[in-house]
Symmetry: C2
Subunit: 277 residues, 2 copies
DNA sequence: AATATAGTTTCGCATTCCGAAAGGAGTCCA
DNA sequence: TGGACTCCTTTCGGAATGCGAAACTATATT
């Protein structure tokens, strides 16, 4: 008996349909830099046998996800967009956002929200909260809060042009909510600089005593920040560092996903209307 | 020996990787109406064995294209968008459009173009033409033509609000280019009504003698028509009816694809700049 | 024309996937 | 509370499907 052992046993689990994974590997090697690839290029990039690659490519062409281009090359079919468009294109953003918010919640985070910027204020458009949450706050969807003092506000403000930022910050008097609340322009600007460096905003009891929040911005197709997503944890859940390490990557990733999906999801944006019960 | 014959031999060609096709069937059953499906629902819709469905779903979850949702349900992962975003998101629209234009050309159609509306005029932003084309016209990229008399113009105007339409139509004097050119507002409005009914505009030597054109609109995320794509054939290539039957579906489909892709492709739009040689 | 490179097909083997059926897990209803 | 139901998950044997090496063909390169 011959052992044609698999070189890389990356497929961490058994009973995985390998042909399917390989098929996606083929699609995934395409990018904007080289939109058309020959079979051998595909095979090399996807680390697949030429014969196998040929068969997979043929199949994908049949399905319409890959198209034959001139000169024995292939390019991605626009049908790859249909998968997303059929499902997400007609879905309203709140519906898409809810599972993402849920994925942010867990033993540490007890609430997750999305708010959009409306003038100098934020409007909560979607929020999830643990049933037995010990968080004092309980912002309802539709509630408005000032932008200058919240993590969500910072996440958005940090990426706005200076002029607009100042306009928003100076639109209303800024009052301290907690001892931590940054109120002077230099204090806030220093925070925003840090947001730009990290890609997310951290609030350690800036707005409500005992509550920490991490937020990341959601951009429109023109790369303007128009909303942000946040996750909040009670002060006693863990150390600040643990909170950041645990939550920041998830929040940033969620924001990126929403940035992407908001592009295809019409230009309708979120709606603060409550559906259902 | 047992014959476990395939019930439906839909796989039209041999050496097709069936698992791959089945995997896509799984993803394709998701739509906005029911964003979360149970395994049995997936199996039923995709017409797959429960066991097979389970294995495929497991694989897709591993790959990130499917996500487990609450209550033994699955929903589409936003990763399905990555396929398109990685490839098309960073690509400029002209690059994406060119293969689409090429696909419109053939024995009948000898030229294909995209133009955007700029005030009362159209600007050609991309154009392909058969080398030995017998078409008299040869619009260069960047050329400007009046909107009122061309198929591309009609395709766009038909979907603009009446007020804007009239503003554009009345911006400049309308002169007959050929005996067919519609010049009065009633004539043009009647054409536009037909465009709205059919979904595409037909020009039978309206602008240039001997040239027929079919065009369909490209919409922005707010559903405003901002560009259109067209295919042109010489008068003698075939009958008008043959031309329409052959070309209209392809042009409409191309326009829909561009509408979709223009959503994710930033808000940069087309550029009339000529790249490369 | 000859060589090299890349694409396509063939082919035999065994791996991988399939499907039936059994074993759980959860739910509904009495 | 129990039983019946549905649906999810796993096991298992078998075979067919897909794999990869290699042969063959087409295309480019010198």
């Amino acid at each position: 008996m011959m052992f044609s052992m698999k070189v890389s046993d990356t497929d961490s689990s058994k009973s995985m349909v390998m042909s399917l994974a390989k098929g996606f590997r083929v699609l995934e090697v395409f990018d904007a830099r080289e939109p058309e690839l020959t079979l051998s290029q595909i095979a090399a990039r996807a680390e697949l046998d030429p014969g196998t690659t040929y068969r997979l490519a043929k199949t994908l062409v049949m399905l319409g996800y890959l198209l034959p281009a001139e000169g024995k090359r292939y390019r991605l079919g626009l049908k790859v967009l249909d998968l997303g468009f059929n499902a997400f294109g007609q879905m309203d953003l709140n519906t898409i956002a809810r599972p993402i918010l849920r994925s942010l919640m867990g033993p540490i985070n007890e609430a997750a929200s999305i708010a959009v910027l409306d003038g100098p204020e934020l409007v909560y458009v979607e929020r999830l909260q643990m049933p037995l949450g010990r968080l004092g706050i309980s912002q309802r969807v539709g509630a408005r809060v000032p932008a200058f003092c919240t993590a969500i506000g910072h996440a958005i403000l940090a990426y706005l042009p200076l002029e607009e930022r100042l306009q928003i910050l100076n639109a209303k008097p800024r009052t301290k909510m907690t001892p931590n609340t940054p109120v002077t322009i230099p204090e806030i600007e220093s925070r925003l600089q840090k947001v730009r460096e990290l890609g997310y905003a951290v609030s350690d009891q800036d707005t409500v005593i005992g509550v920490r929040v991490i937020a990341a911005p959601i951009f429109d197709p023109d790369d303007r920040p128009w909303a942000a997503i946040s996750a909040a944890a009670p002060w006693m859940a863990c150390s600040l560092q643990e909170f950041v390490e645990h939550t920041a990557p998830a929040v940033v990733s969620a924001a990126k996903q929403l940035t992407k999906v908001s592009r295809i999801s019409g230009s309708t944006g979120f709606t603060p209307a409550r559906r259902g019960a």
